[in-house]
Symmetry: C3
Subunit: 260 residues, 3 copies
């Protein structure tokens, strides 16, 4: 049931479309601290959406890149010393310079040091946290139902975007479910990270982080759905999602969005 | 000439098919310590085969990932300090926790420190070593003929999988030759590493490392052959091999295997 | 207006074609110190052109790889400690062993430490520097017009290859403009790095670095143009450029080159 604060479905679809158009118009700089597995695909997803991605993980220069960026993605996918040090500098810079950032706590369910680091990052003020059910359970100790997401978002003053067959997006008072997407998305590495990158792109052009998170997940879900139509498997699907995203326009978003 | 211990060709084809089906059924966790060049493609190959890949190279958390994995791939492709330290921890963990692992000693013919490290790894008990002729010569000081492979396998209590136009797989008493494959495979970076990753996937579901190695190389060879049919070059070939592998089933493996 | 030293357009087209054929014939080893974003695509571009790429960034073994290489690419794309140390060793080795090298000073306009490091590298004798207009401005303090490029090339005894809608290539006395290329090239990450890698490939088989730079940028431009013909967007374009490059021959280069 929609809370009074939650916009109507048609407004959410329009909002996602408007975010895409704003991204294309402004070509925001999005800096990504992400793992080597995901870097190439994430950069190409951001380019296809109209952003200017940068990807350095060097502690010496990360502050210069983040300070000049319009949004930041922090993904814990491969978590080495340089990346951890760079992450701390990046987050500090983002807070100082008001650069919105999204946290993608990949695989925090697999290694205690990663989970501990993720908890400290959640306390550093990400505008949004995008993760899957196992990662949410590792961070919060709870199943990812609607009440748990809202409680977590409220406690940490952030937005939670939980990816799954249906994506769930909660802040303290609002809740949305994005039905777009395709099973092939789970068969391509870095697809979750690509969704987080699109949330960062939307944060660059939208002050309301809940809308930005709903928008980013709607866009990647629609792109996945359309890309799957002609795909023969995960290889051609990963190629097609870049083509589709590059060609995506607001009208197609409004027509295809299944968000409520 | 087949040794008495070597199964009949039809049994080897059936065995490869059964391994693929077991992988799809069990979805083993395969951890890959591999180079940044290969990480994305390797992860996508493992996903297409039905595995759950993880790829961290961080010394702080590698033990946690390996201990929870069903098999481990150690590839020396880019060989920096973190990876070397992580590799030592990973191998130690694998031995302690009985996680089978495969060694891919990429480019040991190019740099003495890499060769020295590879030799120490061979002594640490990999279930299989997959390499090409130049790499085998650098490790063993011999040409990769059948007798040399068997001698090396016996001396080091491992399986040797030598990639080439025909792949040769030897342990102390058994020998197989896999005729599947396509020349385009040599034109795509990380294709050898992908083969090693499929050996790791098979090791996760098969206690006999010789059968696992024969199986992994048969599967990648068949996937390469089928992918080449519609490919226009190495770009579309690399895409198609993921599509083909994702759709591959046991019956197609039995029909296409050229192993004896 | 062509300087007296500059070859005629038809000769430049023939020269690019001859370079491609020489690369295919000799299969030079090209070592790439490049960022993790670009490593996979760069390796595949070099394989498609007929080279043997290697990509290690480890300070311990970089000297062994560079000493055995026929050309070296130094790309600053992600600039961490290991890569900086490895770069210094690589450049020193290249100078000692007469291995020609090309510098790609990615994003020097974004971070002062990177710019400072690039300046010291330019002083270490690259045969060519390939960059875009913002990067040239950051390095030289000037706009990238013909006079500025020639002055920079003369002052630093190198060749400047400036990528853009038209690529401009200058040494102290010669100037060429390459009109080949396609807007989709700007929508794929690492495409610039791929151009630099092809310059390195040409340097491996051509003593005149100006001709090698013109050749490398002509080849990637033609490949991009032909690949765009059937592409639906940046995803299929990046796949097609590998297919096209793999099939490219001298006659097609001569027919399609727009260089003068």
């Amino acid at each position: 049931m929609r809370t009074p604060e939650t916009p109507a479905p048609s407004e959410l679809a329009q909002s996602a479309a408007a975010l895409l158009e704003r991204v294309r118009e402004r070509a925001p700089r999005v800096h990504c601290l992400t793992n080597a597995v995901a870097q190439n695909f994430t950069a190409n997803v951001l380019l296809a959406a109209g952003c200017l991605p940068s990807m350095t993980v060097s502690p010496e220069e990360i502050a210069a890149f983040v300070a000049r960026a319009d949004a930041l993605l922090v993904n814990l996918g491969t978590f080495d010393r340089d990346r951890r040090e760079a992450t701390e500098i990046a987050v500090e810079t983002a807070l100082q310079d008001d650069v919105p950032w999204v946290l993608d706590p990949v695989f925090v369910d697999r290694a205690p040091p990663r989970a501990a680091f993720a908890l400290s990052l959640v306390a550093s003020g990400p505008k949004a946290v995008r993760l899957n059910a196992a990662e949410f359970a590792a961070l919060s100790g709870r199943d990812g139902d609607r009440a748990a997401l809202a409680a977590y978002a409220a406690a940490h003053k952030t937005v939670v975007g939980l990816s799954g067959a249906t994506d769930l997006i909660a802040d303290a008072t609002r809740f949305a479910a994005v039905g777009n997407g395709h099973p092939l998305m789970a068969n391509v590495t870095a697809m979750g990270c690509a969704g987080s990158a699109l949330i960062a792109a939307c944060l660059a052009v939208e002050d309301d982080p809940w809308r930005a998170t709903v928008g980013g997940l709607t866009l990647i879900g629609i792109a996945g759905e359309l890309a799957a139509q002609g795909a023969k498997g995960p290889g051609s699907f990963a190629v097609a999602i870049l083509d589709v995203l590059n060609a995506l326009d607001g009208a197609t978003v409004v027509k295809n969005a299944r968000v409520n």
